[in-house]
Symmetry: C2
Subunit: 340 residues, 2 copies
DNA sequence: TTGTAAGCGTTATCAC
DNA sequence: GTGATAACGCTTACAA
C-alpha cells in the first residue's frame, strides 16, 4: 500500500507539486479555483502530508514535548490534560512522556524529544544540576511546570508551596497540635524542598515540637506515605499528620486504617493536593488544593510566548485551603478544656 | 544556534557522513577505531540525530500512537502507562493523545498520527462505523485496547465485561436485591454495550425486576453518574446500585452522600473498576476490578507482533471481584427474616 | 572497511 | 498565479 504523496495530489489536480503545497497551506497566492481542486484531490486520495518531510524542510514540527514525572499521579494527569488542551488551541500537538520518577528516563526523554525536533518543552523536572547542563545543550525553549530545576533559567508556572504548607501548619496549631508529623517529598524536587522548608519555618515560628522523628522523607508515592506514616505513628507520637502530596496522603490514610486510627478523631490529618475521593472518605479529608489543569494550560501559554519571541514572566498560582472534617483538636486540648 | 548535523560529526571525526551514519547505528561493517572516533565526535558536539530526516529516509519512526478517550480517568492513565512501559522495552516511543470522549477529536488525532507516520496505533476507540472507514484508509497497523470498533477487524485486548457484570448482579441477587439500578455507559462504546447487554441478560435470567427506570445511561464520567443516581434513587426505588465504571461509581457515591444514603446500610453498591480510594471510603466499595496496566502492556505486545508480520490472537483478560463492605442485604430480606 | 551519490516528501526561491 | 528547482538531514546501494 504505497503512501499518497503531494505529487499524487498534484497530478490528480493537474497542477505542480509547488502549487499543491501552496494550496493545502491556504496560501493567498493561489486562485480560488485551483485551491478547491487541490483540496478535492487531496480528499479523494485521502492524502496525509508527511510530517517528517514537512518538518525536515520547515525546521518546525508544531509539536510540544511534555515530560511529567508520573502520569498515574492524578495531579500530573491534570497538568498533562491542561497542557494538551492549550496546545491544541494554539494549533500545536503534544508529545507526552512519563519519566516515572527516574532521572535517567527523564534524560532519555529529553534526548528523544530533542531528536524529534519538538518546538518546545514543558517540563516538570526532577534531578540535579547535571540535567540543567543537558537541557541547556539541547537549545530547546523550555518552560517549567510545578517544579523548577536549579541552574537552569526558564519561565515557570508553580504554585504557592510556602503558603500552602504554612496554612496547613497554622490550622493544625490552632487546633492545639504541637506534635505534627510531616510526610515530606524528596528534597531533590523543588516542591519537596520548598514545602519541607516551609514546614520547618512554620513549625519554628509557631513554637511547635521539633522532634526529628516527626519528619519522614518519601518519594511522593503512595507506598512511601504508608511506610512513613506507619513508622511515625508508632514511634513519633504525632497528634496530627501533614502529607505533602495526594499519593502520600493516600498512603498515610491506608496506614491509619491498618492501625485502626481514624482521622478527625484519633488524629488530625491534612493532605496536599485533592483527590477525587478525599471528599468521600470518612471523614472527608481537609487539604491544600492546587490547580494542576490550569498549571498545564498556563505552562503552554508561556511556552507559546517564548516561541513567539517574547520572554514571559513566571507565574505562581495561589493554593486553596479546603476545610473538611479530618482535623480534630489535639488530645491535650480536650484535657485542658476538661480541667478548666 | 545552528543544529549539529551528521555532516558535522563526520567532519569532526574525519570520516564521511555515510561512515558516521553506519557507526552511530552500530553497523558491523565499521572498524572498531572509527566507531569510537565517531561516537566521541557525536558526544563532543552533542549531536542529536534529526528524527524527521531519519524517518523520511527509512519510512519508520519507531513511534507508536496511543489514543485514549480520557487520560484523567485513572483506568486509561493506567493503560497509557502500561503501553508506554512495554513500548520502551521494544525500543519504541509513544505518542499519547487524549480524545476527550469526542469522536471528532479522535478523528483529528488519527489524522495527526497518520501524518506523523507512526508505525502503529493502539486505540481505545469510540464512535461509529464511519470511523472504521477512516481508520482503514490510514493503512495503519491497529490494535484495540479495552474497547473495539465495529466494522474494523483488528487484534484486541479486552476484558471480560459479561463475566464482570454477571458476577456483580449475581452477588446482589444473592443478597436479596430484586430492584437493581444500573448506571450504564454509552452504548456507542463496545464496553458500554457489552455491559449493558450482560446486565439485561443477568437480570432476566435471575428473574429480577425489569422496571425501565432502573437503568440510566451516562457517559462514563462522574457527573453523569451523579445525575443518574440522583434521579434513580428518587424515582426508581432501587435497593442496590451497580455502576459501569469508576467515575460513574464516584458520581453515584457523591449523589448518595447528598441524599444522606449510606452504601452498605441503606443501599447496596457495586462499582466497576477500582479507584485508589474505594478501599478507604466508608464503607469500602465492593467492585469488579480490571487490569488496565496489563491491558496497555499486552496491547503493545500485540502491536509489536503485528509489526513483525504475524497476526496475533486477541486477548480477553479475566476480571476480579473484590468483596468489600458496600453490599448489604435488601430491606425485604430483613423483613422476611424477622417474620420467620 | 570506507566513500560517493541518489533520493525520501516537502517547502521556499526563483523565474515566468 | 504557477511551475521548475534546490535544498532540508539522513540512509543505503553501489563503487572503490
Amino acid at each position: 500500500m504505497r503512501r499518497v504523496t503531494l505529487r499524487d495530489v498534484a497530478a490528480e489536480a493537474g497542477v505542480s507539486p509547488a502549487t499543491a503545497s501552496r494550496a493545502l497551506q491556504g496560501s493567498a497566492l493561489v486562485s480560488e479555483e485551483t485551491l478547491t481542486q487541490v483540496r478535492e484531490a487531496a480528499r479523494r486520495l485521502d492524502y496525509h502530508p508527511n510530517a517528517a518531510a514537512q518538518s525536515l524542510r520547515s525546521a518546525r514540527t508544531g509539536t510540544i514535548g511534555v515530560i511529567v514525572p508520573d502520569i498515574r499521579n492524578p495531579f500530573f494527569a491534570e497538568i498533562a490534560h491542561g497542557a494538551e488542551r492549550a496546545a491544541r488551541e494554539h494549533g500545536l500537538s503534544t508529545l507526552l512522556t512519563n519519566a516515572e520518577d527516574d532521572p535517567v528516563q527523564q534524560r532519555q526523554y529529553i534526548d528523544l524529544l530533542a531528536s524529534r525536533r519538538i518546538d518546545g518543552l514543558l517540563l516538570a523536572p526532577q534531578g540535579a544540576t547535571a540535567d540543567a547542563t543537558l537541557l541547556r545543550r539541547t537549545g530547546l525553549p523550555v518552560v517549567f511546570v510545578d517544579r523548577v530545576l536549579d541552574g537552569f533559567e526558564a519561565p515557570s508556572v508553580t504554585s504557592d508551596n510556602e503558603g500552602g504548607i504554612l496554612r496547613a501548619v497554622e490550622t493544625l496549631a490552632a487546633h492545639g497540635h504541637t506534635r505534627i508529623g510531616y510526610l515530606s517529598g524528596p528534597l531533590s524536587t523543588s516542591t519537596g524542598l520548598q514545602r519541607h522548608h516551609a514546614f520547618l519555618t512554620a513549625r519554628e515560628r509557631l513554637g511547635l515540637n521539633a522532634d526529628p522523628s516527626l519528619i519522614g522523607f518519601g518519594n511522593f508515592q503512595e507506598r512511601s506515605g504508608d511506610a512513613i506514616a506507619t513508622q511515625m505513628l508508632q514511634e513519633g507520637h504525632p497528634t496530627a499528620l501533614l502529607a505533602s502530596d495526594s499519593l502520600m496522603t493516600l498512603g498515610a490514610l491506608r496506614a491509619m486504617r491498618r492501625l485502626r486510627l481514624r482521622a478527625g478523631r484519633d488524629l488530625a490529618m491534612i493532605g496536599y493536593d485533592d483527590f477525587e475521593t478525599f471528599e468521600l472518605t470518612t471523614p472527608p479529608i481537609t487539604c491544600v488544593i492546587q490547580q494542576p489543569e490550569r498549571m498545564g494550560q498556563l505552562g503552554i501559554d508561556l511556552l507559546w510566548s517564548l516561541l513567539c519571541g517574547t520572554t514571559p514572566e513566571s507565574i505562581q498560582l495561589p493554593v486553596t485551603f479546603v476545610s473538611r472534617e479530618s482535623v480534630c483538636d489535639a488530645p491535650h486540648t480536650h484535657l485542658r478544656e476538661e480541667l478548666s
